[in-house]
Every structure is written in structure tokens, then in C-alpha cells.
């Protein structure tokens, strides 16, 4: 192939793009800005997805009703005492379950032209993923509010102060953000949203039911206790109980935050790599 007789086509002759090339791919402030813009996208979309809002509101209520009135008496001897015990746990369980939606949503988005367009923009490849996850985590606030409001109506009482409650919500959201990346990896790796949903739910059961969320660890057989004690959901639940109804917090919160950090360090790079590969 020879290019001796080419007519010049000077690329500098074309008008310069309106957006100044200030935002370099690795410029952290640009990554944050683009991530927040895409978080906005996720929240705007929520307006149109009213069935998701209903899901986020009703599901925790159903779980509270089921556990408190169906099993509460059997487990704790009193539905009121059990409500105090289980409500912080249901807050954690709700966000862990809701993270399935992140994976399914990403998997659906991946197959649309929208993500192709994002890939063709001069933005970090992390931004569309992080924006989606962050947007989802903010949606979890709806679910947590539902847990608190409904719980209070049927008799749950906070035994701490507003700051502690805010800290509990913050901790749960940080953990949810980290945990969503595990599901996000499934979402960008698998072809079918249904497969993502199936596999994620398989993962959810040992994580939520296999913790001290619904029952005290001391009532379980030894092998199960061993799992419950290493399960990060147990740490988050313990810390939340402490922050909402009183009790030890520091150690549990530290373990939960370390888990969150670990999950992010492992699963964010894996998810971005997989996202890049699947073009």
C-alpha cells in the first residue's frame, strides 16, 4: 500500500470540538464529575420506573410483616421484642437484595446502544459503571426510609440519637456501594439479565439468611456459626443494631468498612476490565 500521491486532508483544518480537551481520561476530577453526571442519569430514570419505586417501598414492608408476625413469636417469644431485634437486619437485607437490580440493570444497559455511545465518548470507562452503581445506592434510601417509617408505625423505637441513625444509614450505604460491584461484575460478564438475576439471588441467600440478621448466632449449629461469623453481612448488621438500638459498634463497623474497602479494591477493577473487554 503506497501513499505517495495522496491529496492532503489536514485534520487540523476541521473545526475544533467545542468541548475543550481538558478532561483527560485519568484526571480524577473529570472521573468524579462524569460519574456524578451519570448518577443524575440514573436518578432521572427512576422517575419513569415507578414499578421499581413500588418494589423498593413494598418489599421491605412485606419482609417486616412476615418475619415479625409470622416468626417473631416463635423466635423471640414476643413480636415486639423481635421487631427491635430484626428491623436493623431487615434494613441490611433490603439493600443487599436490592443490589440484584444493579446487576440486572447493567446487563440490560450493556446490550443497548447507549453504553456504546458512552464508550465512544472521551470519558473514563469507570464513569458509566460508577454512575449506575451510585445512582442505585441512592435509590436504596427509598427502601431504608420505608423500613424506618413502617417499623416505627408498628412499634419499633430508636434507642440512640439522630447522628447514630445517620451513621447506620451511611454505613449500610457504603457497604451497599461496595457490594453492588460484586453484582455489577456479574452484570457486565453475563449475556442474559435473567441469568444475572438467578445467579445473584443464589448468592443473596447464604449472605442474608446465613447471618445473624434474623436469628441469634448462638442458636445455630457450630458449622453455621463459623460461616455467620465470617459473613460481612453479620458485621454490618451488628454495627447497625448498635447504632439504632444501642450496643457495641466500633469493632463491627470497622470490620464492615474493611470488607467494603476490600470488595471495592477487588471488584471495581475486575468490573471495569470486563466492561472494556465486552465491546
Amino acid at each position: 500500500m503506497t501513499t505517495t500521491t495522496v491529496r492532503p486532508a489536514d485534520p487540523s483544518a476541521t473545526p475544533p470540538p467545542a468541548h475543550k480537551p481538558a478532561a483527560h481520561r485519568n484526571d480524577p476530577s473529570a472521573v468524579v464529575r462524569h460519574t456524578l453526571t451519570l448518577t443524575w442519569r440514573s436518578l432521572v430514570k427512576l422517575k419513569k420506573q415507578s414499578e421499581q419505586l413500588i418494589d423498593l417501598t413494598l418489599q421491605p414492608i412485606l419482609f417486616i410483616v412476615m418475619f415479625v408476625y409470622l416468626f417473631g413469636g416463635a423466635i423471640e417469644g414476643s413480636t415486639h421484642d423481635y421487631l427491635q431485634f430484626v428491623l436493623p437486619g431487615i434494613m441490611v437485607q433490603t439493600v443487599v437484595f436490592a443490589s440484584v437490580g444493579t446487576g440486572v440493570g447493567l446487563c440490560t444497559d450493556m446490550s443497548t446502544g447507549v453504553f456504546d455511545r458512552f464508550r465512544s465518548l472521551p470519558i473514563s470507562r469507570l464513569a458509566p459503571l460508577a454512575g449506575t452503581v451510585l445512582g442505585d445506592v441512592l435509590r436504596f434510601l427509598v427502601a431504608i426510609t420505608s423500613v424506618f417509617v413502617f417499623g416505627t408505625i408498628i412499634g419499633f423505637r430508636f434507642h440512640t440519637n439522630v447522628l447514630a441513625v445517620a451513621a447506620a444509614v451511611g454505613l449500610v450505604l457504603i457497604f451497599a456501594f461496595a457490594f453492588c460491584w460484586v453484582v455489577a461484575l456479574l452484570g457486565v460478564s453475563m449475556k442474559q439479565p435473567r441469568t444475572v438475576q438467578g445467579v445473584s439471588f443464589l448468592m443473596m441467600f447464604p449472605l442474608t439468611f446465613g447471618s445473624n440478621l434474623f436469628a441469634k448466632t448462638s442458636t445455630m449449629p457450630g458449622w453455621l456459626q463459623a460461616w455467620v461469623k465470617v459473613n460481612p453481612v453479620t458485621a454490618v448488621t451488628n454495627a447497625s443494631r448498635g447504632l439504632l438500638t444501642g450496643g457495641p459498634v466500633a469493632h463491627h463497623a470497622m470490620v464492615a468498612l474493611l470488607w467494603a474497602l476490600g470488595l471495592m479494591l477487588v471488584f471495581i477493577p475486575l468490573t471495569v476490565r470486563q466492561y472494556n473487554r465486552r465491546a
Binding site: 492532503p8 486532508a9 473545526p15 468541548h19 480537551p21 462524569h34 446502544g113 472521551p122
Partner: protein
């Protein structure tokens, strides 16, 4: 000295399937390059490689002088992409879709809003801008998609089958908008299409590809000359007169007509439009009344038949069932 878009020996394989088998392309700034081929020819793969969405297995692609692999981020600053399927968010309004892209391209908020409004107006979507694209017609979606690819004022615009599935009127609208863009903003366009008439209307240069290879290229006129100009279709009112029509066309055009018995029609390639009055007169003399008498550009199939000696569809069935992207045309 560089071309605006240039590829050398571009190869992309998916497993056992070779989507691109060494493609050389060149286009000059401010022109429209048409990439013409049937489904599964490798057109979309080509666009994806030039849009930095996939990395080629071999060969080089340069856009505006930047390498699509090593300088992908520089390429992304220059390009706008309109996919084969409308790539807009259903759950956001048309306006919000454009605003989002403006913000991602680092336009300040007020400027991003102004740009979104300007583009909606330009593509006749001002009223629809407040609604979700799922209420749009096919043509409106394509226009929004086109608007979305222009938010960053790209120097290069990739249009992957921009009118596939549109009705003729919407198709004409989209064509007009593409022509205006090239004329007013001097963008360099890469257009993929399955329709020869689309390439003929819009492209300065046409590259015909099949099975990931370039099988012909040139200007529209050069290509038409190569495939024997236009084709004349004649359908007699009385189907039993078809053999007479065939005989007559063979004699005048000097070529063997293509006969479709079930449609009762004969088609012959004519290189010279002057034969038309001759055909009309001879039909009249023979007392053959016709239902249809049309002169048209050869279809893509006829282009393939002429260039490669086989029909594109048959070739698809004969050569591979392996290409997962190949659908029945």
C-alpha cells in the same frame, strides 16, 4: 500527509469467524464515504473499530491522524456515533438525553442546555423534546440519535445504517439532514448501508465489502459504470407475452435479461439510457401493453452478481453459517 480516515489491513476475528479480513479504506476530510454491503459483511465491525469500541487483531486504523488503539482518547474527542439501533435512553426525555451528553462532554450546564435546545430545533424535535423517546416514531428516534451524536460538534460522524427500517419519507428527511450537515459543518462522514441508492445519494466514494473484504470501490458513477448502469424492468399486462418481451429486451440491450416468471417480469441491465425510447417503440409496435416499465439503479444483489458473480444471499448460505451477525437480508 494524512487522510481523514485511513485503515490498513484491518483484521478482526470473533472465534472462528473473520469479521474483517484485511480492510484498506481512505477518506478525505469533508467527504462522505459509503460502506456498502449486505448484513454480516463487516460494516458494523468496521464502525466499531473506527469508534474505538473494539481493538482490531491486526492492521492500523487512523482517524484524524490518531491511532484508534494507542490514541483512542484523542479519537473519541473527534467522533460522533450513531448506531444501527437508536442509542438513546427510553426513560429520559429527548431533551434530557441531549443534556446528559453535553454534560459528559464537559459543556457548562447552561451551554449544554442551549446546545440541547438548538439540536432539538434543528432536527424538528422541539415539541417532542419534553417526551420520552418511547413515544417517538421511527424517524423521530433516528433524528434524536443523530442529534445526540452531534452534541460535541464532532469532526467525524459515523452513521451505521441510519435509515434501515424507516419509511421512504423519513428516509428522505434523514438523507436531507445528512447532506446539510456535510455542507454546513464540513464533517467527515462514514456511512454504512445496505442500499445502493442510499450510497448513491449521499456518498462521494463507495466501498463495497463482503465477508470482511473490499470487493470494489470508487465513486458512485465509477461503480455504476462497472455494474452496467441501470436496470430496466418490464412487466407485460398479459403474462403470456413475457417471452416476447424477453426476446425484444435481449435484442435491444445486447444482454441476457433476468426473467422472473412468477412475477411475470423481465429485467435487463442497460448501460445507455438512449435505449429507452427504442424499447417503448418496439413494445408498441409489437402490441405489447405493459403494467410496469421502470428504470432503476441495480439492487445490491445485482451489484454483487456483477462484481462477484454470485448473489449476496446465496453466498451467505454457501460460505458460512458461522457468522453470528449474519441475518437473512
Amino acid at each position: 500527509m494524512t487522510y481523514a480516515i485511513e485503515t490498513e489491513g484491518l483484521v478482526k476475528r470473533y472465534g472462528d469467524t473473520t469479521a474483517l479480513a484485511g480492510i484498506d479504506l481512505r477518506s478525505e476530510a469533508g467527504t462522505v464515504l459509503g460502506l456498502l454491503g449486505p448484513n454480516g459483511a463487516g460494516k458494523t465491525t468496521m464502525v466499531r473499530a473506527l469508534a474505538t469500541l473494539i481493538k482490531p487483531d491486526a492492521g492500523i486504523a487512523r482517524v484524524g491522524g490518531f491511532d484508534t488503539v494507542r490514541q483512542a482518547q484523542d479519537v473519541r474527542r473527534l467522533i460522533g456515533l450513531t448506531g444501527q439501533y437508536a442509542s438513546v435512553d427510553e426513560e429520559m426525555t429527548g431533551f434530557e438525553n441531549l443534556l446528559l451528553l453535553g454534560r459528559l462532554l464537559d459543556l457548562p450546564r447552561a451551554e449544554a442546555k442551549a446546545r440541547a435546545r438548538e439540536l432539538l430545533a434543528r432536527f424538528d424535535l422541539t415539541e417532542a423534546g419534553g417526551r420520552s423517546p418511547d413515544t417517538y416514531s421511527g424517524g423521530m428516534r433516528r433524528r434524536l440519535d443523530l442529534a445526540a451524536s452531534l452534541v460535541g460538534r464532532p469532526s467525524f460522524l459515523y452513521l451505521d445504517e441510519p435509515t434501515t427500517g424507516l419509511d421512504p419519507r423519513s428516509r428522505g428527511d434523514v438523507w436531507q439532514m445528512i447532506r446539510d450537515l456535510v455542507r454546513d459543518e464540513g464533517v467527515t462522514v462514514l456511512l454504512t448501508t445496505q442500499y445502493l441508492d442510499e450510497a448513491d445519494h449521499l456518498a462521494n466514494d463507495i466501498v463495497v465489502i463482503d465477508h470482511g473484504r473490499v470487493i470494489a470501490n470508487g465513486t458512485s458513477d465509477e461503480l455504476k459504470a462497472q455494474i452496467g448502469g441501470r436496470s430496466l424492468e418490464v412487466r407485460p399486462v398479459d403474462p403470456t407475452r413475457l417471452p416476447d418481451v424477453v426476446e425484444l429486451l435481449r435484442e435491444i440491450a445486447g444482454r441476457e435479461p433476468f426473467v422472473e416468471d412468477e412475477r411475470g417480469q423481465a429485467t435487463v441491465a442497460v448501460s445507455d439510457e438512449d435505449v429507452l425510447p427504442v424499447v417503448v417503440r418496439r413494445l408498441d409496435e409489437a402490441g405489447i401493453r405493459v403494467n410496469e416499465f421502470t428504470l432503476q439503479l441495480p439492487s445490491l444483489d445485482e451489484v454483487f452478481l456483477t462484481i462477484t458473480g454470485h448473489r449476496s444471499q446465496e453466498s451467505a448460505e454457501r460460505d458460512d453459517g458461522a457468522d453470528p451477525k449474519r441475518k437473512a437480508a
